[in-house]
Symmetry: C2
Subunit: 340 residues, 2 copies
């Protein structure tokens, strides 16, 4: 069985990469992995980018010999998003670009870098683009802007464009993080209070009312909810870099599959331009990517099917956190898509 | 027509009031209004306390001659909650009790003070207790602990006890507020950043995804959502006192109709003890008091009816903010209850 977590990352670098916001990154580095082998026809590649505040270890549960993304048949390319701390990010660049000096990066910037990486790997057309959450936002943008380069698309708990409510949710996270006096003042040290505050706000949004009602967190530890917040969420975000989170929030807030020179903001045209055979899978209880937004998106797409994940895990449905319950549903959707 | 907003408050004071947490307030002052006249039989009184972060001006739209709480027939007593800045609060006490020195106040403390106020007014039994949000939490506690003193109860967008998810939501608000370095350090001035952060987090929770999807805020001003946050929510919470908000959040987090010597934490027994004819009215889209929690509560009550407010205003359904849409539905429920 494939053990993706121990393999070293590979790197792909570009110089003088111009971002959509006008600034130029003198050097941009994508960190990525290829699980399985790209075949001679180069028609068996699956792209599966990371999502917000996460690295490839969160992707790996779906990948492997006999797993839904089956490395005995497919080559699965996992690529770290700009700003996630592995690819070029506020936390790993020279001081003039570090922290809040890091430029705003768009979904379209990430997508163009992915296209360059696929060129580098000799992959013309993806067999499948799998994106979750902010990764699904990339899947929509990639499939709209580069329809010839993607055969199939699977968008899990994400959206074509960040909605007003999703924006407000993100703005609250950003406000909670940046309320720390140390935020933006590295001489005062790490903004630990802001990271704590970020996690406390996030904890209510990322899971659902139903999850908390049944005491879902007690699967992890039999503690009261206050202890759960302290032991799970505080520690989770203390491991993150505040400026990387901030960078990714900016990307997410502005996410829009049509916010680029291809579509100039015409979301309906962008959705209609997607030719990939698509499954869009929201979670029934997702508080910031609710199913209604997926219903709207597929109503404008040519070849898309809605499959709602009936889960009380909120936005965490379809991740390793809920895998025992959701893996079969996911697997069937992915298998079905790949067989078409 | 009655014009409640211009009448002066009346005050009711008690000395050496012992709180549930063990501390004693040397003097506690309730600020209240009586709209209409208490009749000779003293059987026409409606109690309608304030809710979180609000004062009586938010209650007044329901009250008046010919309004749902009709002052031509009923005497409507509006009482400010402890911590709301009008009744005894962190912002209006002596320095030794001010700010974070203010003791933790429970729903049961508020309820016992209301009973004392009704004694003072000569009202033995209420015709109706109307409570919204944290006020509904008081209605549940009052009706469970003092069943002989309330004939009817109307609980709007609230709960019998704060659920785990509601607690997490509140904890996020508290974390966003207290992340400001000035919070708890009055020598650094008002925690304006914390109040901003609080409002930004609140804005996503208090309204619904559906409200934002249809651009509901544009009723107020035709601006983008970022401008709406800045002009509406920032200014709204800048007018609030951070320590009053903090005090009320502590009350809310611990809200539980059974957290008192009468029921010792037995929520089912407390709900079963309510004899008042009751209407419980959650909002379909309320993100922190979802209808499911009301369904649970009435399933344990003797004489309670569920009426879900079909609104996309989230937790703001049934307030002045949504009055044009909801007032008839509310009025019918209240009228129906009063005629029984």
């Amino acid at each position: 069985m494939h053990q993706p977590d121990t393999s070293p990352a590979r790197f792909f670098e570009l110089e003088n990469f111009q971002l959509q916001n006008g600034s130029t990154l003198p050097r941009v580095r994508l960190s990525y992995w290829v699980y399985g082998e790209i075949n001679d026809a180069a028609d068996n590649t699956i792209l599966f980018p990371t999502w917000f505040a996460s690295t490839r270890s969160a992707n790996s549960w779906l990948i492997g010999d006999g797993r839904p993304l089956d490395t005995s048949r497919y080559a699965v390319v996992v690529v770290d998003a700009i700003g996630n701390g592995e690819s070029t990010s506020p936390s790993n660049v020279s001081p003039d670009l570090a922290g809040l000096n890091f430029p705003k990066v768009s979904i379209y910037d990430n997508v163009r870098l992915q296209v360059a990486l696929l060129d580098h790997l000799g992959v013309g057309r993806l067999a499948l683009y799998v994106g979750r959450s902010m990764g699904a936002q990339q899947a929509f943008c990639f499939s709209a802007c580069f329809p010839d380069r993607v055969e199939r698309m699977f968008a899990l708990t994400g959206s074509a464009a960040t909605t007003a409510h999703n924006y407000v949710f993100l703005d609250g996270l950003e406000a909670a993080l940046s309320a720390d006096a140390a935020f933006g003042r590295p001489e005062l040290g790490e903004p630990r209070i802001g990271l704590t505050s970020f996690g406390r706000v996030f904890a209510g949004w990322v899971l659902s009312q139903q999850y908390y009602r049944r005491g879902g967190w007690r699967r992890e530890s039999d503690v009261n909810v206050e202890t759960y917040l302290r032991t799970h969420w505080d520690r989770y975000f203390w491991r993150k870099n505040a400026y990387d989170l901030f960078c990714q929030i900016q990307t997410w807030k502005a996410a829009d599959l049509s916010a680029n020179p291809v579509f100039n903001g015409d979301q309906e045209a962008a959705l209609a331009a997607i030719t990939a055979r698509t499954v869009v899978m929201p979670s029934r209880t997702d508080l910031y990517f609710p199913p209604e937004d997926s219903v709207w998106a597929i109503s404008l797409m040519k070849n898309a099917e809605l499959r709602v994940l009936e889960s009380d895990y909120g936005h965490r449905a379809g991740t390793a956190a809920s895998c025992n319950m959701d893996v079969e549903f996911l697997e069937r959707a992915i298998m079905g898509l790949l067989q078409k």
